[in-house]
Symmetry: C2
Subunit: 528 residues, 2 copies
């Protein structure tokens, strides 16, 4: 069988492969027929060389061309929706509807369109003008960006279609996508549309490139290559930290979204008031997509007492009555079994579930575990092991002081939630714990589960290490996510006609927001 | 003789010292009498513990208290101006006037006051509100910041008074200052005023702490300590990269300002038009403060020909007629000799100068070297060795293509300058080279030397690695410099009274700029 080609320098071409791999269908637990290459460094090198050239060409192009590409790409994804959704379902087991067709694909095209709008409008670059000194600055493209996509969002976080891709492109950079080996066919279908859209928008052909799989060593070599501007990575902590070490040593920016267990604190008043409703919300959030979300609520912290015990019972009922759904693959299933074993070895006891179910399809029993506060404080690191899937750990703390101690031992997380009573019964407890939780998480929620990451300008899908590599950046939310893939360019005493359009006296679009002499305005410089 | 105390947890207390050191007076080349401690980890640990507590207390305080501290501190520095300037002159040899009293001290107090204004106003935090989804975000303090100050600005970049200090405090963080061992007495005098101002503003006592010197190992342990939010460092590349490696491995942000040789390209038309004027500007810029600036023009690139030779001759005359001025210390002088030796070994020939002058005072001959384009391209790394002081290297390129090749081999720099003719004679050359230079530097200048870094909101005192650790940040320029010492905090569905004032419906100051539903405004949310 022929090995699939890679997309390098505008051509689908035969890979320089060190081997091949095939994806699996988790619904049947069988291999899929297509054979994909494990590229050698030769492919990486060729992609980097082409990307470096494309970066130079892109810098000279108007933002409208980049926007046209993003818009055209979104349209093409919609046109080829059925084919893409079918393939994504085959490779990931995620339901075609609503998940893939009605949620994730529209999210993907929406992100691309928001990115297009941001690229045209330019405000993302924080154009800043000091008219008195004639010093002007804005963010500008970083250079070629390598995007490593995760397994759990075959479309919306795909290396060649997702959030990092859209942000890097909108900021003016070419992207080398490293497909997730779990869904190479989906990635190929997307890349075909990306290439066609790039041609239609007359972008440099190497603006979008795709390789499927490379060795860890070549991955580390990629992220520190002098031709690269930076990298985006979403995935496991261990692989991400190996890439980070390589990039850091070379002084190359890398933006990582790693593990997160997303603590949920439910205060007693809320449990008294609406335990059933919260149990429903929690179950929905934890079992949605088989729990395979970076914002999956993996740690629930309760104050000991009858309301807590009753709540645990309500969740147990729900976990046992819901049929477990298909996991992304056997790797996820095995990792879940390992994580559950680690949690149990550290003192957690099983409430329900705890083991893989006989395939096909590949599934893991809906699983709940529990520890008390003393146990948690005795092994805080092990008991924060991420179980990526339909598994959650309850921590039952004796009192508020225990709860505070527990919070102080939490690692950095993407999100943290606090449920409290609507009648004010939990307000004192909220005041005591919220400040502690606040500094451990990127997004603090009230009375709402953490899954469902809105693509909003105010979103932060980020958080303190080790949830991410840097607490100042968000992977979701336009325009802020674009600034990751940018460098700050200052112009001092530069003649006006030599400035980029964003920094000239005339507002380039009539609606770009610029910080002129300390005030944000859409006006021209002369009109100040 | 008694060893000077360290400032920890609001007290000047006896250090846990592993040894002592004394500063030198570079004007006399003699040791100064005061004895300062080399702290052990015990001091670092105590400072970190106190800073962690102060960080919690600071988060609960209004921005007006932080601003009051910064303002009061600026006033106190002015009140004690003579004493501070006298000590700084003694320890650094920098002229009392105009440099210390009339330039650097006013710059320092100006920065503190700009930081105070930024802290009160709050716009630096980019408050972003999505009213439809009720998601709100802004930058918030990172946690305790350790600031390592450089040798060359005893006031304006001092760890306890300079740009990093002002930015970290204004963003709401306590600072642990690590004094530069070159000017411990100046740092002590500043710290005394900082502590008094902190008391007057009723800030937590450990908001400002000072240690003088620590081992490299303890420095590396500091920047990765879990209690620390992040670090700021300005200084040598080797020490900075060791700190960066330690911080990176622990996932702790560190902002570094390292070496830079600040290429200056002077195009033939400009030389034809105004060689004498440019020679004056270059000489002033290169010899100012004995060339001990991070933005010192250390590399001048010219196109071969009679105008270039004449220009070199004009600069040589000026370098030989100006008396060399006192260096910061014998370490700087020895490093200069090493750098000149490295440049000569790599093929540079001496035009003038090249050796230390007999002390006292500690001085190095005003020095010019030259290489041709072939030589430069044969050893581009060695010929980009920073010579921190009154030394510059001319590169004479055969033609424009050589010049482009040279630009493509440049490392990341803080600045890059292009001088061109006013009559358009150099415009074609400018178009060819400016895009290449642009991506190698943080700040691009036209017809202006790089020294003199204005404290402007549009300034970028930063640039690609290895000039700094990350190309997206500036060390100078408020409000942008504050965002280095901040993390992104998002609030999702959080009740309004639980939000920080910056994100509530009412504009907290009536003049804070907030991005509400995509538009920058000073209005309240309700008034949208």
């Amino acid at each position: 069988m022929a090995t699939q080609p890679v997309l390098i320098a505008g051509q689908w071409r035969a890979p320089r492969a060190a081997g091949t791999f095939r994806a699996h269908n988790p619904t049947t637990a069988e291999q899929l027929p297509q054979q994909y290459p494990i590229s050698t460094w030769d492919d990486c090198d060729a992609a980097l060389a082409a990307a470096a050239e494309a970066a130079v060409a892109l810098r000279a192009m108007p933002a409208s061309s980049i926007a046209a590409f993003l818009q055209r790409y979104a349209e093409r994804i919609e046109t080829h929706k059925n084919q893409i959704v079918e393939m994504a379902h085959l490779e990931t087991g995620l339901p075609k509807s609503p998940r893939l067709a009605d949620v994730e694909l529209p999210r993907t095209t929406n992100q691309l369109r928001q990115a297009a709008e941001a690229a045209i409008e330019g405000s993302w670059a924080l154009p800043t003008i000091d008219t008195r000194l004639n010093i002007r600055s804005c963010y500008a493209p970083l250079g070629p960006v390598c995007v490593f996509g995760p397994n759990n969002f075959p479309l919306a976080f795909n290396g060649i279609a997702g959030g990092d891709f859209a942000a890097a492109i909108a900021a003016g950079n070419p992207v080398i996508a490293k497909a997730n080996p779990g869904h190479p066919g989906t990635t190929r279908l997307l890349a075909e549309q990306a290439l066609a859209a790039a041609r239609e928008a007359q972008l440099p052909p190497a603006t979008v490139q795709l390789i499927y799989r490379i060795s860890h060593e070549d991955g580390q070599r990629m992220v520190c290559d002098p031709r690269l501007g930076g990298s985006g990575y979403t995935g496991s902590r261990s692989a991400g930290l190996a890439l980070k070490a390589a990039a850091d040593a070379a002084g190359k920016p890398i933006y990582l979204e790693l593990s997160s267990i997303n603590p949920v604190l439910i205060l007693p008043g809320a449990l008294q008031q609406r335990a059933g409703k919260i149990a429903d919300e929690f179950t929905d959030s934890c079992l949605l997509g088989s729990g395979q979300f970076c914002t999956n609520p993996g740690l629930v912290i309760l104050l000991a007492g009858e309301p807590a015990e009753r709540f645990v019972g309500l969740v147990k009922q729900r976990f046992e009555s819901r049929p477990p759904t298909t996991l992304l693959g056997s790797g996820v299933c095995q990792a879940l079994a390992r994580s559950v074993a680690t949690l149990r070895a550290a003192g957690a006891s099983l409430i329900t579930g705890g083991q893989p179910l006989p395939p096909p399809p590949i599934r893991f029993a809906n699983t709940l575990l529990r520890v008390d506060g003393d146990q948690f404080l005795a092994s805080p690191e092990k008991l924060q092991t991420e179980a990526f899937g339909n598994v959650s750990l309850f921590v039952i703390a004796t009192d508020l002081q225990y709860l505070e101690l527990i919070l102080d031992r939490l690692e950095g997380n993407l999100t943290g939630c606090i449920y409290s009573a609507t009648d004010g019964a939990d307000d004192a407890a909220y005041e005591a714990i919220a400040p502690r939780l606040r500094w451990r998480v990127g997004r603090l929620l009230n009375d709402k589960m953490p899954t469902g990451v809105a693509v909003s300008p105010a979103m932060n899908h980020g958080g303190p290490y080790p949830a991410t590599g840097h607490p100042g950046f968000t992977a979701v939310g336009i325009p802020a996510s674009l600034r990751r893939f940018a460098m700050l360019h200052c112009y001092d005493n530069v003649k006006e006609h030599r400035l980029p359009p964003l920094l000239r006296n005339k507002n380039p679009t009539g609606r770009t927001w610029r910080l002129i002499d300390g005030a944000w305005t859409q006006k021209d410089v002369d009109a100040q």
